[in-house]
């Protein structure tokens, strides 16, 4: 394979694979790094579907513009608009492409792609593949990636962990340091551009709906190396998950999209079996409070409602659970949800086709992440667009979704763009694939013209970073201190979940800050139970824990400083949205010397849709 130009993609979920396929298609070789075989990436957990305007919805009055408007309104206007314009206008093309790749989308009687209703919209505009859409989309992209692997354009580094970006004397990214988690071999890899597509950071919260690899450590390492974060305080808590000992398992929004209803007993502490509670004694609080959207209000709203009725004592049996009920739906509808219903039954022993499911909110998605930029471009309005003056992203511009470090890109969930303060259901798969496809050509354009080639950089540059990473490991292994990394992590999860999720307030967050400082001190006095040099999972976890602590502090800091409520960020001490001064991006950078986050507020350009009050109750 040629040494120049080369691109590294870190992460093999939807965003990483879409980027890989797109970049390889331009003839640029890609080295693909992943903690796990890419086919097992966390995108497999996405269940409900992928949003795009389609012909049926269009003829009912829907449009790409409307999709954009819903995304901005849902995100409480914290999103930059041109990227959302571009994404929603590209969405139908993305569905077509996935269809051509062979994704088994559900079909109508006539053989067209079927649609389901999803949160934050009154139109059916969500394409789906049973109730395991993320898995099906990931597999399609995995297959196309394998095709390029077969052609020799993609080199797969599975089970390799990203450790640090290599930045040259000008602060430009020229590669990465990575480590094989099996042999523990550590190596520097040269690249003319690096794409971070490393997903979310739910593991910071201990139990979440995310996979065990979603620690946010890769994002944290970039942040520590100088990449800014955008809106790290924006963490989505999904309203319906099955709480478990090891994680909270997602119960898809599609259950409500297909007609599922959320309720609690009207009588506090009612401990009758749900099937024994008559209709009139059930409280369908979402339908009552949000007559138009009903059970399909955006996730932050459903989450707060479920949380608060349980706090008031209306939870199932007086506890912290509500019912998600699909028992009344016809069998053929239940069949479309088979994948998630089976999971519920396997884990709880109850068959949700006949017994209402017990659910509670759980941390699910990071809207915030690595801070990125893009190049705006004026677009010619298409039918449905409500303005003559519309702005999208400039196709192929090297700047698109590049972080503040030149040559270092962020795609997918780790990118802070698109979703603002709340992500609408079924927009994640779209944004991940859109980033990969649309901004993939930005990456290949950037490397094609590059003059300062990674291949020509001195070996000493890479050796410096290798030494840095080796020193970190030596320190972790040799310190033989007092504290158990898993216990610190459990406490981190408890603290962050209690202070920084559904309802936040300054007092509790300051307590968390204190605890966090204590944990950071304990982290310097860690005892590893495995100090060996082969497949050391204990070391891998402990190293990530240090980065989680740093990232947690950024989340906490921005949560404290955003003294307003917006979307998923709800402050009981500041319950209203306060546009002046908080209609701004929280840009957080890392002060290496003092090991502290530093926050700047950045204006959000507002070229199209004006701010309006976010109210789903009417």
């Amino acid at each position: 394979m040629s040494d120049h130009p080369r691109v590294i993609v870190v992460g093999g979920g939807l965003a990483g694979l879409a980027a890989t396929v797109r970049i390889a298609e331009q003839g640029v070789p890609v080295d693909l790094f992943s903690m796990i075989p890419v086919k097992r990436s966390h995108s497999v957990c996405a269940q409900g579907g992928i949003n795009a305007c389609n012909e049926v919805a269009r003829q009912q009055g829907y449009s790409e513009w409307q999709h954009m408007d819903e995304t901005l309104y849902g995100g409480d206007f914290l999103n930059h608009q041109p990227p959302v314009y571009e994404m929603t206008h590209w969405a139908p093309k993305i569905i077509d492409l996935l269809d051509r790749m062979g994704v088994p989308f559900n079909r109508t009687a006539e053989g067209f792609r079927d649609l389901r209703l999803f949160g934050g919209s009154l139109f059916k505009r969500t394409h789906f593949s049973g109730a395991s859409t993320g898995q099906q989309l990931l597999y399609a992209l995995d297959e196309q990636t394998r095709r390029y692997e077969d052609k020799g354009l993609v080199e797969n580094y599975e089970f390799w962990e990203f450790l640090w970006p290599v930045l040259d004397e000008n602060g430009v990214c020229k590669g990465i340091i990575a480590q094989d988690q099996r042999t523990m071999e550590m190596k520097a890899f040269r690249a003319d551009a690096v794409v971070m597509a490393t997903g979310g950071c739910g593991v910071i919260y201990g139990k979440s709906t995310m996979s065990v690899i979603c620690t946010g450590a890769a994002a944290a390492r970039c942040y520590e190396a100088g990449v800014k974060l955008g809106n790290p305080e924006m963490i989505q808590v999904h309203p319906t998950a099955i709480p478990g000992e090891d994680k909270c398992r997602l119960m898809s929004e599609s259950a409500r999209g297909e007609g599922g209803r959320v309720w609690v007993p009207r009588k506090k502490g009612d401990d009758r079996k749900p099937t024994d509670i008559p209709e009139e004694e059930r409280w369908y609080f979402l339908e009552e409070r949000y007559p138009k959207y009903g059970n399909l209000v955006p996730r932050d709203i459903a989450t707060r409602e479920i949380f608060s009725v349980c706090e008031e004592g209306y939870g199932v049996g007086g506890g912290r659970m509500a019912y998600l009920d699909i028992t009344h739906l016809p069998m053929e509808t239940k069949d479309k949800l088979a994948a998630i219903l089976e999971i519920y039954e396997k884990f709880t022993g109850d068959d949700p086709r006949f017994v209402p499911m017990k659910i509670f909110p759980a941390v699910h998605y990071s809207m915030g992440g690595l801070y990125t930029e893009y190049e705006m471009e004026e677009r010619k309005p298409v039918p449905g667009d409500k303005l003559d003056d519309v702005w999208g992203m400039k196709d192929g511009d090297p700047k698109n979704m590049m972080t503040n470090i030149e040559g270092l890109y962020a795609f997918g969930e780790v990118n802070y763009q698109y979703h603002g303060a709340t992500r609408l259901g079924a927009n994640a798969l779209l944004s991940c694939i859109f980033d990969g496809l649309f901004c993939g050509s930005s990456v290949s354009n950037y490397v094609k013209d590059i003059e300062d080639k990674a291949a020509d950089k001195p070996e000493a540059l890479y050796q410096k970073y290798l030494d840095q990473e080796k020193a970190k490991i030596d320190k972790l292994i040799s310190q033989n201190g007092k504290f158990n990394p898993y216990e610190i992590h459990a406490r981190l999860g408890d603290e962050m979940t209690a202070s920084c999720t559904v309802v936040k307030n300054e007092e509790r967050m300051l307590q968390c800050y204190e605890a966090l400082n204590e944990m950071k001190a304990q982290y310097k006095d860690l005892k590893l139970s495995d100090t060996g040099e082969y497949t050391n999972a204990n070391l891998v976890f402990s190293r990530a824990l240090g980065d989680m602590l740093v990232y947690a502090e950024a989340i906490l800091h921005a949560s404290i400083e955003r003294k307003e409520s917006r979307g998923s960020h709800f402050r009981s001490d500041f319950p209203d949205r306060i546009d002046d001064p908080f209609h701004k991006t929280a840009v957080v950078s890392y002060d290496v010397e003092n090991d502290k986050p530093v926050l700047d507020w950045e204006e959000i350009p507002m070229p199209m849709v004006e701010l309006r009050k976010r109210d789903y109750s009417k």
């Binding site: 298609e25 790749m101 088994p104 079909r107 049973g130 090891d246």
Partner: protein
């Protein structure tokens, strides 16, 4: 308050080439545990039942929702996912839970095995739809809901390896492809564009380690956690192979 504990016997192996050995752990019981949370407790405090500090057990896992396929291991003698295997059910069978790595794949360490053979087989059978690239070329081929039903069933294969662990034909040292590859072959061959590579796939399927080595024990279909119609796949691919070989004979194609 006295804590209830249960015993877990884990088959361990320090390195790929080293010999395996067993260790037993006492694990604190809490309601609704699965095997993953059991292993997490062992990892947090790796002390054996007889009080010896040992290296924490290493295993492979991902989503913990039984969709990624990573955490497949042999638990109480059955290949299954550790995330969806519940401790209460296991304890009903036997007071000691026994966990081993899959036996048909090389061990990396402890319960972690190397299943790259499965992914390589996907490459061998050209497991993809030959698209003309990511350009905007309109929708894919229309299909009926019945066709989607079958393809969706195949597409839920999470490359976990249960079918291969249970297969008497599939061993560490032969090159049999097994049910996973046959199902994926049928998956791609039943798509209107995927079909364009059907002959090339069948060339592989009829070659060494292919469909003719299937001993028809039908173990695979019984252990598949996603209930893939593996026998349908084997029969269908077998039929395609027969037709293709006749075609090959008459057209003189090698």
């Amino acid at each position: 308050m006295s804590t209830k504990t249960f015993k877990v016997k884990v088959k361990r192996q320090d390195e790929a080439a080293s010999a395996s050995y067993w260790q037993t752990f006492d694990v604190d019981y809490t309601p609704n545990m699965n095997v993953i949370s059991t292993l997490q407790k062992i990892a947090a405090k790796p002390v054996t039942a007889d009080g010896k500090d040992v290296a924490p057990v290493v295993w492979d896992c991902g989503c913990l929702e039984e969709v990624c396929g990573a955490c497949t291991m042999v638990i109480n003698g059955r290949a299954c996912q550790a995330c969806s295997t519940l401790v209460d059910e296991l304890l009903e069978e036997n007071p000691v839970i026994q966990i081993e790595p899959m036996s048909k794949f090389p061990v990396v360490r402890d319960l972690w095995v190397d299943r790259s053979r499965m992914f390589n087989n996907l490459k061998r059978i050209k497991g993809w739809v030959p698209t003309d690239g990511t350009y905007d070329l309109g929708a894919g081929p229309q299909e009926t809901q019945e066709e989607q039903d079958l393809r969706y069933a195949y597409s839920r294969c999470m490359t976990c390896g249960c079918c291969l662990e249970a297969c008497p034909q599939f061993t560490k040292d032969n090159d049999f492809m097994g049910a996973q590859s046959f199902a994926q072959t049928d998956y791609f061959n039943s798509h209107a564009t995927g079909k364009l590579l059907a002959d090339e796939r069948l060339d592989v399927i009829m070659g060494p380690g292919g469909i003719s080595d299937c001993g028809n024990s039908q173990n695979c279909v019984q252990v598949c956690p996603k209930e893939l119609p593996l026998l349908t796949a084997i029969a269908s691919v077998g039929r395609q192979a027969t037709i293709y070989s006749i075609k090959r004979f008459f057209t003189g194609k090698k």
